[in-house]
């Protein structure tokens, strides 16, 4: 198969774009990296999340909102096509507040975000402790829990099944998928691009670089400078329990399997995915402060992933000016934005140009101003 378009990066971002493109009758080839690559997609927490996001960047707030609006339809299509249950629930989500001060601060933060948006009814509310207890009848909250913020549009999904389903969806639409296919070099070849892999070359008229932290080196070869840094996040997961937590919370959610995911830390040790006992201890202490009964539950696994962070933490969507047909798509909230990536972004890439509403996400916002 000679592909119309090659998507470099089989993580949550690349797979969503490839799935979207494949559904639009493009011959798509999705190239995934090595088994041991950093892979933020395998470390994801699984929230499909709006509350608290985008302060100072209204375009990101709007983008997140737009993607969440697409998520239900996106899930239904993907599940119908692949028979993989994404365990998507959108019944709202919580952010627990420990202490009255934290509760008040949370209220003010969300109010500022709401005012930034400017219109519409609030889609969140602050729940005091009695209201929270009514919402979570199977949970005995720790004494420090003052309440929580509740976001109506928030939800969660199984991020690994999402990834598997998008891969399956690419194949289902006649696309091709190759794991362990790392792209070493991209060179223009007439109006096409020549991709050099280990031991072979591929040619395609269009490429999308969605290779996470491996992207800057590839993007540079098509004239795009994308500044990225890794931010380590550590997550804990427990043994499987009977359902007790009906809603996902920021940093604490019970999965469809029954495991409890606890996260996530933020630090910057560079390209290092080792886990630390200190992080496990800190996450555990915070968790048992919220739900003391979790103290007797066993940890099954702790892992670390590297978030794909731009200097302002917001996504990069861009087409190269010097090499038209080469796109980059990079972000750290690949699950929340998956529906947008598979639908609007894939359509725009298929059409050959990104719409004006994505201009705030162009990498040129990071270009160093030329001296006068």
């Amino acid at each position: 198969m000679r592909p119309d378009i090659v998507v470099i990066g089989g993580g949550t971002v690349g797979a969503a774009i490839a799935y979207g493109l494949a559904g639009k009758c493009n011959k798509v080839l999705l190239l995934d990296g090595d088994d041991g690559d950093f892979r933020a997609a395998r470390a994801n927490f699984g929230l499909v999340w709006l509350q608290g996001k985008g302060l100072g960047m209204p375009a990101y707030q709007a983008l997140t909102r737009a993607s969440i609006a697409l998520w239900r339809g996106f899930t239904e299509r993907l599940e119908a096509e692949t028979a993989i249950d994404l365990a998507y629930e959108q019944n709202g989500g919580l952010a627990f507040c420990l202490g009255e001060d934290a509760f008040e601060k949370r209220r003010l933060d969300l109010l500022r975000l709401h005012n930034q948006r400017g219109d519409g009814e609030p889609d969140w509310e602050m729940l005091d402790r009695p209201a929270l207890e009514r919402l979570l009848p199977k949970v005995t909250l720790g004494p420090d829990v003052a309440g929580a913020s509740f976001g109506r549009h928030d939800g969660h999904a199984n991020p690994l099944r999402l990834l598997a389903a998008m891969h399956a969806g690419v194949l289902r639409h006649g696309g091709a998928l190759r794991h362990r296919a790392r792209v070493r070099r991209i060179e223009p070849a007439g109006t096409d691009f020549k991709l050099t892999l280990d031991g072979e070359t591929l040619v395609a008229p269009r490429v999308v670089i969605a290779a996470g932290l491996g992207s800057p080196e590839l993007a540079r070869q098509v004239g795009l400078d994308v500044p990225l840094r890794p931010e380590r996040g550590q997550v804990l997961v427990t043994e499987r329990l009977e359902p007790f937590l009906p809603l996902p919370a920021s940093g604490l959610r019970q999965t469809g399997e029954g495991t409890v995911m606890i996260g996530a830390t933020k630090d910057d040790p560079g390209f290092d995915v080792s886990t630390t006992g200190e992080a496990a201890a800190r996450l555990s202490r915070k968790t048992v402060q919220i739900v003391p009964a979790l103290a007797r539950v066993g940890l099954v696994r702790q892992w670390a992933g590297l978030r794909i962070m731009t200097p302002d933490s917001y996504p990069i969507y861009a087409q190269s000016q010097s090499h038209p047909g080469a796109f980059v798509a990079l972000c750290h909230s690949g699950v929340t934005l998956a529906a947008f990536h598979a639908e609007d972004l894939a359509s725009a890439i298929a059409a050959g140009s990104l719409p004006g509403r994505l201009s705030p996400f162009h990498q040129s916002r990071f270009d160093v101003p030329q001296a006068a």
Partner: protein, 98 residues
């Protein structure tokens, strides 16, 4: 499934399996006692509720998980018996309150 070749005699201790008193010998593991139960002891898995019993006896398979004195998912093959110990069978997923 298994039987003990000697009588533990005066040093025997009593432990409780799902509330039922059972004789055990100091030095042996809880899993060893479970494998001697007449009706065939098992737990059920949190994935499909299928029955499982001790398999490796050396701490690597995690099939012998039990609740001991209120702490769930303990490896019974690594836990020596102690007088008065209370052992409860785990069925499927544990509940948070247990």
């Amino acid at each position: 499934m298994f039987r003990k070749l000697h009588d533990p005699g005066p040093q025997a201790v009593t432990i409780f399996i799902d509330g039922r008193p059972v004789v055990a010998e100091p030095g042996e593991s809880v899993a060893a006692v479970l494998l001697r139960q007449q009706e065939g002891w098992n737990r059920t898995t949190p994935v499909s509720q299928s029955p499982r019993a001790p398999y490796c006896m050396m701490g690597v398979c995690f099939e012998c998980l039990v609740e001991i004195d209120g702490q769930g998912s303990v490896q019974s093959c690594l836990t020596p018996v102690a007088a008065g110990m209370r052992i409860a069978r785990q069925q499927g997923r544990r509940s948070l309150s247990a």
